[in-house]
Amino acid sequence: MNQLLFFAELQDRVGKERIDIDLEGKTVQQVKEYVEDTYELHKAKEAMIAINEEFASRDTLIKKGDVVAFIPPVSGG
């Protein structure tokens, strides 16, 4: 199993900050497409993905237990 985390606008749109879901074996790109389709989240495309709190490239494979977070363009500071 994996945790899928959402923040900011994506969190508002999904309506949850966290979803427990099995993503093992999928690539980051596949996870983005899955979220885009499932939640009709066009903005998911613009987000970066962090795996276990580190930015991941689009072809990275999700492993068992990985925490996968959608990171929309940041605006802190």
Partner: protein, 152 residues
């Protein structure tokens, strides 16, 4: 020794961030304080809401501190960011960098705030009279993974 980077829901005490970097070796401390501005491009903000992916945000803030120490070996940085609801003129972020001499304190402090706006997962939602919106500066970023992280 207190942590050099932290996220808090309470008002940030500027002196507290400065205290983390003041030391006998330093003659200069540069501090950047980000406050909530009332008008952005003519539009009035009523208040802001900041949200963070807290554990990752602290990690990324610490990463910025490490980058600073690599570039300016004599620098001692500290970064604090507030989350939750912030009113106009409230302090959202405080960066303090101490260095032996002043030029480096300015450079490293500037570097820190620019990097904050690139890699730290914190977001603000602007609330106006007629609505609200999560802000994200798409122009300055590439969709997907930024080239920098992709290469590393």
């Amino acid at each position: 020794m207190s942590e050099s980077c932290y996220i808090t829901q309470k008002p940030i005490i500027i002196q507290d961030v400065v205290d983390r970097v003041v030391r006998p070796e330093a003659g200069a401390v540069n501090t950047f304080i980000g406050t909530v501005r009332e008008f952005t491009k003519g539009k009035q903000t009523l208040y802001l809401e900041y949200q963070a992916y807290e554990s990752m945000a602290v990690k990324k803030m610490e990463e910025i501190c490490t980058e600073i120490k690599r570039r300016w070996p004599d620098a001692e940085p500290s970064i604090a960011h507030r989350v939750g609801r912030l009113e106009i003129t409230d302090v959202a972020v405080v960066i303090a960098v101490s260095t032996p001499h002043r030029a480096e304190s300015y450079e490293a402090s500037r570097y820190a705030i620019e990097r904050m706006k690139e890699i730290v997962p914190i977001w603000k939602k602007e609330h106006w009279h007629d609505g609200a919106k999560w802000i994200g500066d798409q122009k300055e970023r590439q969709p997907g993974v930024p080239a920098k992280e992709d290469i590393q």
